[in-house]
Symmetry: C2
Subunit: 439 residues, 2 copies
């Protein structure tokens, strides 16, 4: 049978689109019904009564779901293997053996009581791309690798291993399944002694692409089809202790109180005001709070609370925190309290997406007549690890109501097909980019 | 031996004070060293390593402490009995059998991990007054009753019984000792079948007087010797649920949040501002707070918090609450949240002290050259029950640092002696008041 070169399929797509613009044309490129049916089929593994899934990594449901996906990969004529970290990789050779592969995929594990779209959309779409290439008899120049990362929700385990950043200590930590991560990797066919062989060095991949649901409501609320991720935000977490003086709420006049909760209230508002005071997409959140001793009739002596700041710029995160620290100095002085911040060891550095890959994604969406919006990813993804070793891009599709990590998570079949089509078109664009995507 | 009439001792006191003004003259009336020694002796019963006491009602320590106090009462030639509610009453007849007794006293039980002054100061001072009357050979017109109320810290049990407000249900509730209150009353010599006989009707007492530590820092900080209580505040408690929308802290832009904690912070500040906005001694406190789900990386969807308002005027409490409700309407609208208040069933109505009794206390302090300050009692006391059936007054002495319900509780011997002297002088003033104190 004739092998159609990428340029040819690109031209074919453009020809398909010549007459009209819109979702229907996406469907000439990818199979919307098949994507939706497979999402629903995968949702059977770990299905829960609320309509979502509890398919936590290394669980029986995860193992069964992975077997189902490996079968789909084989159906798409991919050479399927499980690496030592438990990542499933389906490989398709390219026409030029000298080229490094283009990798694309996502994860299939869920959080406990999770939904059917966070992860699966990227996995099913990646397999769809491979399937379409078979059906359209397209051979790419680059080898292609479809990847299903292991234990994304438990700490990006598979992608950490792939870039050589999975620490021996992490293997001993508990996963959502109850198994230690190391034990979990073995349960899904990995091999702890072989983790070194999993590592891809800088330059070992031509590109990495991940399609994912937005997990926010920006695309839905602005009516945009495709989010083109600029980068994955850095994250810093602090615990904060505010110390005042506990006292009898009946016998201590209002002007003689050192009320830690009054100080905390001003802190919460100051965080909101400072984060909003600069242009940009930075976010800052106080998510935890408790007062001690915590009784109706005692003025709070201590408040334990928190701070999280996320942004694409590490420098901006630090600057905003410095401004918050300055604000709390005044609050402390005026309320007779003290503030003590503890930076937690969960810091994530910002991971910028590759500009050329972003251009390819933008061009792909444009070719398909889909609207786009450049945006940060406020959530973490395997792509943030891959960005450290390869030119990386991420494609977002809308999440209804911005809901994720919940059985209420939902992305329409149309949006999933749009994302899959952009993924396919973008990887073909990258494949034929003579200059190389990362240059 | 000659019986000295009250007028005579009053004249004697005035004679004592003619030369100079101050604490030394108080000591000519009451015995400071004896008061201090007895406070220290009582502190041995239930003594804890932190220097305070855990002499909770109905405990062995309470029973032993009560026996010690009953002995002191007998030493002061009082006729000692335990009523059916476990109150210890030491009676001294007056010269006019037609007159209703003047009652004075306080409680001897402590909170768990309590201090040595909250309650005992009023009890030891009351016994001191009886002792001085013996030593000075003074006979009052009215019968006198020194009372040690049972289980004050567990819900004003003894005084509730005395006014006929101890419900059968309360007898089944647990006390700090672990015993049900009814069982505890039996353990200290009470008789549940005789509770009806305990009740004093309106008019059965000429007056009730209680000396107590302030449990606040107002007297200490203003350098005033004696607090003359205007009334015991009413108290209302509410639980409050603020409902927003939990969401991903990374993917939800700042302007698309329905952050229940941001609303709660504004509520906490609004309570403080509204309570302070009116003249007076009202207090309002938000003592409890927690956020759900309560994670660094989730925008709080629900905040559970509280409200307490105390004031001498029930109408003012209600008006302030109405203003808070109005303020939260705006906060709710502006933050996309809802507020739901639940009034708890722990409401205490304000108990006003009797004006004539207050005048007698003021005059007594003035006679002794002690400075006074009229003030509300922000804490509850047995006196609030007695105020429902008798002209009642309360005398406060300073608490170091305003600390109470803690081993760090402290009132100096000088302040205790001042309080005892004012108590004695006030009851003599009341005794010789031809118009009757409550008229």
């Amino acid at each position: 049978m004739p092998v159609v070169q990428p340029l040819a399929i690109a031209l074919l797509i453009i020809a398909n689109l010549a007459g009209s613009i819109g979702a229907q044309d996406v469907e000439k490129l990818v199979n919307r019904e098949r994507i939706e049916a497979r999402i629903m089929q995968l949702a059977e593994f770990g299905k829960n009564p609320q309509g979502g899934v509890s398919r936590v990594a290394f669980s029986e449901a995860d193992i069964a779901g992975r077997a189902y996906l490996a079968d789909l990969m084989r159906e798409a004529q991919l050479e399927v293997s499980t690496d030592a970290a438990g990542n499933i990789i389906g490989r398709r050779e390219g026409s030029d053996p000298s080229l490094a592969p283009i990798m694309f995929g996502s994860h299939a594990d869920s959080v406990p009581e999770g939904g059917n779209y966070d992860g699966p959309v990227g996995v099913i779409a990646a397999i769809e791309c491979a399937q379409v290439l078979v059906e359209q008899e397209v051979q790419t120049r680059h080898p292609l690798e479809v990847i299903i990362f292991s234990d994304e929700e438990g700490g990006l385990v598979g992608s950490r291993a792939l870039i050589g950043h999975l620490s021996p200590g992490a293997l001993k930590e508990n996963s959502h399944s109850g198994l230690a991560i190391g034990e979990g990797i073995k349960a899904i066919g990995g091999d702890l002694d072989g983790l070194d062989q999993v590592v891809r060095k800088q330059g070992a991949l031509t590109a990495f692409l991940e399609l994912h649901i937005e997990q926010g409501a920006v695309l839905e609320e602005t009516g945009v089809d495709i989010g083109v991720v600029e980068g994955i935000v850095g994250i810093k977490w602090w615990d904060l202790r505010i110390t005042g003086k506990p006292n009898h709420a009946g016998t201590t006049p209002m002007d003689r109180r050192q009320n830690a909760l009054l100080a905390a209230a001003r802190y919460v508002l100051a965080v909101d005001q400072i984060i909003r005071s600069e242009p940009g997409t930075q976010v800052g959140t106080v998510g935890k709070i408790s007062a001690e001793p915590g009784a109706h009739n005692v003025i709070p002596g201590v408040v334990m609370t928190s701070l999280e700041i996320r942004d694409l710029s590490a420098e901006k995160i630090d600057r905003l925190f410095t401004r918050i620290q300055q604000a709390v100095k005044d609050i402390a002085a005026e309320t007779g309290t003290t503030f003590h911040f503890d930076l937690l060891d969960v810091t994530a550095v910002p991971a910028m997406m590759n500009d050329r890959i972003r251009s390819h994604i933008l061009a792909a969406a444009d070719t398909l007549g889909l609207s786009t919006k450049s945006m940060p990813s406020g959530a973490g993804h395997d792509a943030q690890d891959l960005a450290r070793i390869a030119p990386t891009g991420m494609i977002f599709v809308p999440s209804r109501g911005g809901i994720s990590h919940s059985p209420d998570e939902f992305t329409s079949a149309e949006d999933m097909a749009n994302g899959a089509a952009v993924l396919l078109q973008a990887l073909l664009n990258i494949d034929r980019d003579a200059n190389g995507p990362g240059k």
